[in-house]
């Protein structure tokens, strides 16, 4: 204590001496608290220290935070009655928690998600994120003869790994596609299209019907459209399109399939968008969809839950995958962008990281995942949980699409890895859709940014 006070006094005395000052207020190097694992046992395989509190931060977004309070925390509390659980929720994760990391007292368990999530790359590079290997090798909550590792989608582990070490638990399995109202489609005799020609014909029909606009997306957040563009490009050119982009390969953005996809989306933007799309956000466009002002909307499978308060009872959410562009597409119809998402992490330098891992183990149990699935209406990465549950129409449609896709799944990771690239692609994609950027210029501009990041030594690089 006296040290910092003395330094403050010295700081006050030596204003011009920047160096002396800098030592005052930049955080002192905090030694990582040793994860003093309590003894492990069959009942406590991760060695949770039940005498220290467990601080939990849930991103209060589309899933809310009730699932943590009502499902997972009680499970842990039942097992460790003495463990104090401090529950918190926020919509602005980085603003709220970034300072805690910088200050050396991060909370144990964080649902680092949403528009204001913290940069995992920077956190991992700084050793702030706990290794999940002990969790994955621990016996599962339900069946001691099975490891946790063997009860979940392997892609979840792969995606949560940084340099081969599992760090992040992506709990929710998300599939992306084009969403529509079954009611509207039935009433008008419209069919989900399988080829791009059918797709444009459908949109022409919708336009002609005069009942609603054909297509919209969250114009203020062009992520929603570049996600789709990349999916279509990967369908044309194969899953390596996304892999090369992730790896910042030279010219990864300017390959022919990307050009085809960008051209198709520029046309989509020019001809079929709902009026005002560019200035509306996801909630506004999704609400317009619910109000039958527009027929088609690209989104992830969280949509149904996010809109539960504004969706008419007979709306009947359903989704279809992006249609095939040509006969010679590298991947067949039904290919999906499917990706474990909704990241959770344990802070390596928190006081009780083992309790955070144990909390994850509870989440990955059949009970934890099953109740979660019912409560927030979404798929999880835990195998075989959905069987026998009563699912809402949109969730059922997404689950069916995922089954139908089989191994034809694609994903990309650069959005989490390179936040700056995401900003640039968002900005450029909005311009592509509103016609201010031609497809070639669009891709060249992004390629330039990707190259700049590749050459920026202060940005940590990742490979997949």
């Amino acid at each position: 204590m006296s040290l910092s006070r003395r330094e403050l006094l010295r700081a006050a005395a030596l204003i011009p001496a920047a160096g002396a000052l800098a030592s005052c207020a930049t955080p002192a190097q905090t030694p990582a608290p040793q994860a003093t694992a309590a003894a492990t046992s069959a009942a406590n395989p991760l060695g949770v220290a039940a005498d220290k509190p467990l601080e939990i931060w849930i991103f209060d977004g589309g899933f809310g935070d009730a699932y943590a309070r009502e499902i997972h925390e009680p499970m842990l509390k039942a097992k460790y009655p003495n463990l104090e659980i401090k529950h918190n929720a926020t919509k602005e994760v980085a603003k709220t928690l970034q300072p805690r990391f910088a200050g050396g007292n991060p909370p144990e368990f964080i649902n680092n998600s949403g528009a204001n999530q913290m940069d995992f790359g920077a956190l991992v590079a700084d050793g702030q994120v706990a290794d999940l290997t002990p969790l994955l090798d621990a016996p599962s909550w339900d069946d001691p003869s099975k490891k946790v590792r063997d009860t979940i989608d392997p892609l979840a582990i792969e995606i949560g790994s940084y340099d081969g070490t599992p760090r992040v638990l992506n709990y929710v399995n998300t599939v992306w596609g084009i969403w529509y109202s079954q009611k509207v489609f039935q009433e008008n005799g419209w069919q989900p299209p399988k080829t791009w020609d059918e797709f444009t014909k459908l949109m022409d029909d919708i336009k002609k019907s005069g009942k609603m606009a054909p297509f919209t997306y969250a114009g203020k957040h062009p992520y929603y459209i570049y996600e789709a563009l990349l999916t279509v490009a990967a369908k044309i050119g194969g899953a390596d399109i996304m892999k090369n982009i992730d790896n910042l390969e030279d010219g990864a953005w300017t390959v022919e399939p990307m050009k085809q996809a960008a051209t198709l989306f520029a046309e989509l933007g020019a001809k079929y968008l709902m009026q005002g799309t560019a200035g509306l956000d996801h909630i506004q466009t999704q609400t317009a969809h619910n109000k039958y002002q527009v027929a088609l909307l690209p989104c992830g499978s969280w949509l149904e839950n996010e809109q539960k308060d504004t969706t008419p009872a007979d709306f009947g959410y359903a989704m279809f995958p992006w249609p095939s562009v040509t006969e010679s597409d590298a991947m067949p119809y039904g290919t999906l962008h499917s990706q474990p998402g909704e990241p959770y992490m344990v802070s390596a330098r928190s006081a009780n990281p083992r309790a955070g891992l144990e909390y994850m183990r509870a989440m990955l149990s059949k009970e934890g995942a099953g109740k979660f699935m019912e409560m927030v209406s979404t798929l999880t990465v835990v195998n075989g949980v959905g069987e026998g549950l009563q699912l809402k129409p949109g969730l059922k449609s997404a689950a069916d699409a995922l089954t139908a896709a089989g191994d034809n799944k694609v994903y990309f990771r650069w959005r989490q890895w390179y936040a700056e690239l995401h900003t640039e692609v968002q900005a450029a994609s909005g311009q592509l859709m509103s016609g201010n950027l031609k497809p070639e210029a669009y891709l060249e501009r992004i390629q330039k940014k990707a190259d700049a990041i590749k050459n920026d030594s202060s940005v940590k690089k990742f490979k997949r």
Binding site: P99, A102, I283
Partner: protein
């Protein structure tokens, strides 16, 4: 300024005024049109927000100019309770009360000494304060966070002035309000006559007694105007609480609350409550302002005119 006017001059003045009005006939009408136009421009967005706060979700997403079928008072209940607008407003009042008081006390003390007491280093201290006027606060945010965090580890007083405390925020507000306060009040103190103070010294009054009992009352117009300036500035502050009060939601101030609802509307789609919250944030300010408008206007402008 003329203080006495003979009746004759007064009438001729009235006459002149009337003449001018008559002469300016069409121009007078035009000026009313122009003034009315800006009035509409100012008022309509605010009224429109008030109106929207009585609408349902559906009505808000419908035509912007439609009237609410029935006023939805429950929007306000949601804004007040779920979005804690009441709590945030109270927090703002508490913080701004103490920080303005502290700013005025410390600021006037420093300004007085710097304005009236020549001593070695006077100019340097004065410039140090005034230079703060030109510092963009964005430059200091990150280090400031750590300063406040370190303050929180001091013995005894630490828990009251660290991160996520109103005490810490108050001290930061005071520090960041000092440059303008000192700059302005020092100029003000320089203009005050010295005779009264000198007489008091002759009578054996101490320096601080002269300050509190003679100079401060004399400086009242300046103090009022800079107080108002600080109240408005600190009430509207968004950036500093955003960084310093992040993880204590119950301590948040009003601007944070409003911005939070606007972000929140992105996930929960409770636009009706957003408008209600906006109304709750706007209305009291307008009422307070309208009641005190004369003092506020003359106070603020006296400041800038000096």
């Amino acid at each position: 300024m003329t203080t006495t006017t003979s009746p004759a001059i007064a009438t001729s003045r009235k006459q002149a005024r009337r003449d001018r009005r008559r002469r300016l006939g069409p121009l007078g009408v035009l000026s009313h049109v122009a003034l009315a136009f800006w009035t509409v421009l100012v008022i309509v967005p605010i009224l429109w927000t008030f109106l929207a706060s009585f609408k349902t979700e559906d009505e808000i997403f419908g035509d912007a100019w439609s009237l609410p079928a029935t006023p939805r008072w429950d929007n306000f209940a949601r804004a007040w309770e779920q979005a804690h607008i009441g709590q945030y407003m109270l927090n703002s009042v508490i913080v701004v009360f103490f920080s303005t008081f502290g700013t005025m006390l410390l600021g006037s003390m420093a300004a007085y000494v710097l304005a009236r007491y020549p001593f070695r280093g006077n100019r340097a201290v004065y410039l140090l304060f005034v230079s703060g006027l030109a510092f963009p606060v964005y430059l200091a945010l990150t280090p400031l966070f750590f300063v406040v965090q370190n303050m929180g580890t001091l013995p005894l007083i630490g828990p009251f002035i660290g991160l996520n405390t109103h005490g810490g925020l108050v001290l930061v507000y005071i520090a960041y309000s000092l440059p303008f306060t000192v700059f302005f009040l020092a100029a003000f103190f320089r203009t005050l006559p010295t005779a009264v103070a000198e007489a008091a010294f002759v009578d054996g009054a101490s320096h601080s007694r002269v300050f509190f009992q003679i100079m401060l009352p004399m400086a009242r117009p300046g103090l009022v105007s800079i107080t108002i300036f600080n109240v408005i500035g600190q009430w509207n502050q968004y950036q500093l609480p955003l960084v310093l009060l992040t993880s204590a939601r119950d301590k948040w101030v009003l601007t944070q609350g409003i911005a939070e609802i606007s972000t929140a509307a992105g996930y929960d789609a409770d636009w009706a409550a957003l408008f209600a919250a906006l109304t709750l944030a706007i209305l009291p300010m307008l009422v307070v302002y309208t009641v005190f408008q004369r003092q506020i206007q003359s106070g603020l402008t006296a400041g800038a005119l000096k």
